[in-house]
Symmetry: C2
Subunit: 515 residues, 2 copies
């Protein structure tokens, strides 16, 4: 017998959408032939199944077809098994132990009890949001007095060390631009005191980088954003600190006698910043010592950081840098801390690969959706896949995580860590528009990387981090106009909020999808 | 193309065994033909794979063959992809996005960083343990003074309400018997004050049931067990309490004004113990009101209970009743609490179905292994499956959970919740011996249900809870002798500690397995 069906009674195949409804997803291996799938279900403590539902086809993946049913669970306790109808009056049954010929031979699957705390919830507002990513050093220079000596020209080609002078005041002055574009969520890459221009090497987690402004500037920015119906999310760089971080400096000065020695992972009895005998982000990046978040003091310190900016400046959540190299224990505490303070705060992890372990409801709401970006680029930019392959891959990714996470994915065409879409597309506006159109109509939160909406170009880091173009004659206004209309469509069309995307190849060269 | 391979970069396909080694498991769909599978791997931040390992065949499941490799990860950061060798110099590649023709087209899988707190550890002692389950009311009457009036005769047929007089002193007096049998772990069903004979309806979580003895009796029992190299695990019934539990009584008396109202799930504005308008264990069992463990006070209370008995009486862990109807948030805190107090304490959940959501390293060490029991019964007792089907199902279950959990599974032929093995076997000693032999040689902790070793019989609850037979002439001494030898074999043969069981049908009627 062919493998036929695939299902398990846990993520991403079975999970509560609420305390009284469970989503079931079945994968049917394509060679397998059948008429329909029914789910028979009832309370766990009933002797038999009391109800039946026919599952709905939900799209074709690379190897599997997907079928979905949302099963009501009034008692919060579910048992179920699948009836696969092969022909009229000919069925076989599929349960936890695999295939059976008769219903009562199939071992049931169980969702034993839907506990409130186990239900994955994401903020409701994510369904009606378009996001915008800002690299603060490069978006707008609102306060030239803060711009350090030695800064280059705003439009100079960025280098790994160039300073262009962007700041929080600049962002605040441009809120109307973002508002007019339809933006409802702003994500700022790091703004805390740090040595580099990207600020991913934090020196002080409790201070705004003086080049960017002050806490009052952040407060004002957030307040003005809120007044326009926009939220603000900051970047939490907790995996590692910067070289100047006081505890790391203390270790350099005092060695093993430092009370911060165990905040880091140091090999041997003294620290050697030349040989880099300590763990860092990536490989031997001496300026980014990895933090030992399992140390109770470090854990408490970083949870405090997360709380602090919510309380002090009323931010609306965090994007988590290198989220996949920090332990799950920490992230669970992080979520508990954040959601207790602000239940509708957003938590987005930076994970480039399959993120299911972080998207179980106990850690992140969503992640930066690089796999979707790969699909989009492969189809519209690189021409590496057919519409059919694209549709199948996108369908597979839609069922890789619980539905709640799909609503909170941060979908993107590019970021400060990638080449810009316009550059990848060899300058082609058509490709950019197609990619934007898909981005704006897919489930999840579409995010525009600053400047992509006006056709900015730029290769890999640092070139993708150019000064935002504000000169009218250097902006692609036609593209901007299209992007605005797409954003408007996204926010005005209820069908585009939440839900799945049923996508397929209509005919070669034509993609059809239903939301 | 056939589906071929199945793998994901998380449980139960990929997980750390330690901070510097990852176990990878690949399922190969049986129709798929290939010569071998190699895993190519290296540090996540390297531009290419630096090493290669050939995966080892680890058995045949129902639909899939299993291949395993333990990959060294000196930097704690792993990327990998699989090379499937179809013929000499003909390979295809398998990565996170599926198949590719060339190595560099395969999208790697990642274990981005092995954090210490994410590594699943179970107590080392589980590898050298045989357990014994005692239903305290029925094992031995050591203190007749505690036996309530109206108790029945020790060997009377048990009913749902009969009292036979067993107690902690009785268990303590029989420790030498258990020690001689080779037992190293004793699991007691509940012993706290409760109304029923089974004590699953707790009235007071901080008191020993007076019929069973006192805290001093428990202290003495645990101390004497420890002196003989035996550990003691108690039963934690935290999903629900008993009718007499003081907070529940307070709610009955004071209704909504009770400060314990929210400790339970009550519909409406007053409690109705006749109509049972509150959630209970199972369906409307008025004597077992379900507890709201998400309420901070209840959570704290029950964590305190868990701590209390470790601290007061030095017990060695907990078996968790109805573990699958309590939320994961609570169990994570439970594990943290227990393991902080006693790192080598054992945590065993009662989950009858697939338990992967509880066996990720953050909740239980193992669960009561009812699925293995089903396999054993189907082969040796019910004759419902062939040796081949048995071998395949057992193999599938071995790869359903991380290897650490497999070491800590509580394997059983029966419990207080099932018919006894001898009864199921229609009295056949041969069947019981075969089942025992498998139990004692399988990965996990073999557990004997009291009296099964001397051939006690008993149908479904309450009949399976008879008074332990201490009369020499009513004990099956031949069986006891075999069981003793099997226990001895288990404890003396290093090959039987930990590891996998490679099991297959050697020829019809003959099972072969390698440990
Ligand atoms: Ca400035
Ligand atoms: Ca007694």
């Amino acid at each position: 017998m062919d493998i036929g069906l695939q299902h398990q009674s846990n993520n991403p195949f079975a999970y509560p959408l609420g305390q009284k409804v469970v989503r079931l997803v079945v994968q049917v291996h394509r060679p397998y032939r059948m008429q329909e799938i029914r789910v028979h279900y009832g309370d766990k403590y009933e002797t038999t199944y009391t109800d039946v539902l026919t599952m709905q086809g939900a799209g074709q993946g690379t190897h599997f077809d997907y079928f979905v049913a949302d099963v009501p669970v009034p008692t919060r306790r579910l048992k179920y098994a699948f009836e696969v109808v092969l022909a009229e009056n000919v069925s076989q049954w599929f349960g936890e132990m695999g295939w059976a010929r008769e219903r009562d031979e199939a071992v049931p699957f169980y969702i034993p009890y839907i506990c409130k705390r186990d239900v994955f919830t994401v903020p409701d507002w994510v369904d009606q949001t378009v996001a915008y990513q800002i690299f603060p050093e490069r978006f707008a220079n609102g306060n030239p007095l803060l711009t350090p000596d030695g800064a280059c020209g705003w439009y100079d080609t960025p280098t790994s060390t160039s300073i262009h002078g962007g700041d929080l005041a600049g962002i605040r002055q441009r809120l109307d631009y973002l508002h007019e574009l339809g933006i409802r969520l702003i994500y700022l890459t790091p703004i805390f005191r740090a040595g580099s221009n990207h600020k991913y090497d934090t020196a002080d987690y409790f201070e705004i980088d003086p080049q960017f402004g002050t806490k009052d500037d952040l407060r004002a920015l957030v307040a003005d954003a809120h007044a326009r119906g926009m939220r603000v999310v900051l970047d939490a760089v907790l995996n590692h600190c910067g070289y100047s971080f006081r505890p790391f400096q203390d270790v350099i000065r005092n060695g093993r006698r430092s009370r911060y020695w165990d905040w880091f992972f140091i090999e041997g009895d003294e620290i050697d910043t030349e040989a880099v005998n300590y763990e860092t982000f990536a490989t031997k990046l001496r300026n980014m010592p990895k933090l030992n978040l399992a140390h109770p003091e470090v854990e408490r310190y970083m949870l405090k950081v997360a709380e602090y900016w919510l309380e002090e400046c009323d931010i609306d959540g965090w994007r988590l840098d290198v989220a996949n190299e920090i332990d799950h224990v920490f992230w669970r505490k992080f979520r508990e801390t954040i959601k207790r303070l602000k239940p509708d705060a957003l938590i987005i992890g930076e994970v480039w690969h399959n993120s299911l372990p972080w998207l179980q409801g106990d850690q992140f709401d969503g992640v930066m959706n690089y796999p979707l970006r790969e699909c989009i680029l492969d189809l519209f930019v690189r021409g590496r896949v057919t519409e059919d392959e694209f549709a199948k891959r996108v369908t597979d990714w839609q069922f890789a995580y619980p539905a709640q996470a799909q609503r909170a994915m941060l979908n993107l065409l590019g970021s400060h860590d990638t080449e810009r879409i316009r550059t990848l597309a060899g300058g082609s506006v058509a490709a950019v528009v197609q990619a934007m159109a898909l981005l704006m109509t897919a489930p999840g939160i579409p995010m525009i990387y600053y400047g992509d909406e006006i056709g900015m170009q730029g290769g890999a880091d640092p070139l993708c981090r150019g000064g935002m173009v504000w000169d009218d004659d250097r902006r692609d206004k036609a593209l901007l106009d299209v992007v605005k209309r797409l954003v408007k469509l996204r926010l005005s069309e209820p069908a585009l909020a939440g839900g799945l995307m049923r996508v397929e190849c209509a005919e070669p060269g034509l993609l059809r999808y239903v939301r």
